[in-house]
Amino acid sequence: MDVVLQIILNSFQSFAIYSLATIGIVLIFRTSFTTNFAQGIIAVFGCYVSTNFARYYGFPLPLAILTGAAVAFVIGLCIDVFIIRRGHNLSPSQKQIITMGLLLIMTNLIPVMFSFITAMTPQTPNLADGIIQFQLFGSNFQVTNQGLAALSIAIVLLGIVFAALKYTKWGLGVRATASNEVVSQMMGINTKVITAFSWAIAGALATVAATSLGTVLGPNMMGKVQIYGFLAMVLGGVSSFFAPIIGTMIIPIFNSSAVIISSTWADAIVFLLVLVLILAFPNGLFGKKTIKKV
């Protein structure tokens, strides 16, 4: 029992990061009908900006993260307005190529643009230092403050996003676009604005995720997060916005348990387990079966 609780405590930070990255991936998948491989690199860009502001201009951390998120928001908006919107009738794999082109461009531009930072190989700013130790049912547990801080930020942000999806006009528009783009256009929904804001919000959320990673800055820092995000999306099921979040709860728990068995093979074990689960539930754990008309 105490092992299980400790595993859950260990996966707080990963859950925060994966859930923020995944909700962006799902938003883009539901409104633009493609998988966005550039999501991670937009986040890395925002993370560089926020690290720069926090470490070198001495901004307070929340303000620095907000600045980074705002930059990523604008980048996401620009990408949709100038590139994705022009190719709205492309096939999903052609759109994938566009996002891959963006990935190539930004991966190579970022080290050049921020060469003054990369010379020092800095870390992302710590959200909080130290660990908390406590006793429960007679056994010791510990949790990092970084994990708790990331978790609380993620819960607040996810709460805001889900409230927005449920109660605002933008959210209604997203749900309508996700269910049928053409019909929602006919009903007077400006799907272009809906899609643009989905890209922008996805960029901003992923930036917060990248900033709470707590690793060395680098263009590839979000690579694994992104792949786990895609898998979590399929694992949870894409028919609702909430199901992928449950997918992102399962993956970190698998990961913290696999680390106990072998830290080298943890990722391989998690990937295999997730693949087996997806094969067992092809529509996702909480997805509905889609019925095709012929």
Binding site: T35, I97, L109, F271
Partner: protein, 360 residues
Amino acid sequence: MIKTKVSHLKRDRLLAVTKHPYFAFLAFGAAMMILMFLSSIGILQYSFAASLTFTLIYSMVAIGFSYLLGYAGLASLGTAGFVGLGAYIASFMMQTGVQQGIIPFEIPYVFILIIALLVSVGLGVVVGFISLRIEGIFLAIVTLGLSEVLYQLFLNWIPITGGPNGMTVLRFPVIFGDLRLDRLSMMLIVAAFMTLLLILTYNLGKSQTGRAMLAMKNSTSAAQAMGISLLKYRLLAFVLATAYAGLAGALLMGFSRYTDPYSWTLMFSLQILAACIFGGTRSLFGIIFGTFIVLGIVPMFLQNVEYLRNNSWLFNVIIGVVLILIVLFYRGGVMQLFRDIRKFFTSIRRRLWVRKYGND
């Protein structure tokens, strides 16, 4: 009078030869072989021929991938893992296995290729069964996950794969006994395989198999109603794609004798996807040209430009911009480009004709 008729006949016969579908493939293979041969005498730089060989190997992967994307309409992002598997199997047979005493003697290269092919076919069958349960973009994500598992294997199974430092094989593979291949013969083998695969792909695409896959791509339900077995053709598509990829991996290992896990990430799968889409997904020479744009143009030509060599980040930025521009404005890929060039020339010829003879 009679003489001209004979010469006409000769010309017709020659034309008939050039019109034969195999002619283009054989001519392409011969041209590649000549370029490789020129580099071995020293007329061309060796680095040029080496990058040409790499481009050929990658275009084999892309042509195999076209069975999935172009014919069967299946999305896959597992290409990198499949190629890497072939490469590491070859490295195991060529060096690691012999050193560790698992394999008693150095296996001839032919058998290495066959074993790499067999393992790849096995993997293809597994992925094919997965594709029966999951479709569309979700299949792409699942194959991406599978490729990640293989990547973790390459990265962490250090006694076999060499881990993050990569695996260097010291000597070229043996033909039999002590007779070894060398650089030129490896290049020629790659060109020969390329020609063979082109002919095979052309024939399969035109045969009942290719048409059944096309039917499946357009509508699975209609194809099933016509009596096409989804199981059979999806398995076949994946088996062909992984077999091409495994073969390419084994050839790559025989030629370059070096591989590391970081070559086989999502980026490589996406590059192959891009090459395939540029080529118009089914046109063989289009795909080769697409591979050249995505993977070949930097090492073959841009590397020689002084300014670009000093700012190597520019390469990938340029390629990224080109990728986006092509997808946005040239949806038909290279084939549309060829068509437009032909149209441009006919319009010029027409304009010249008008200037010469008047508008009537």
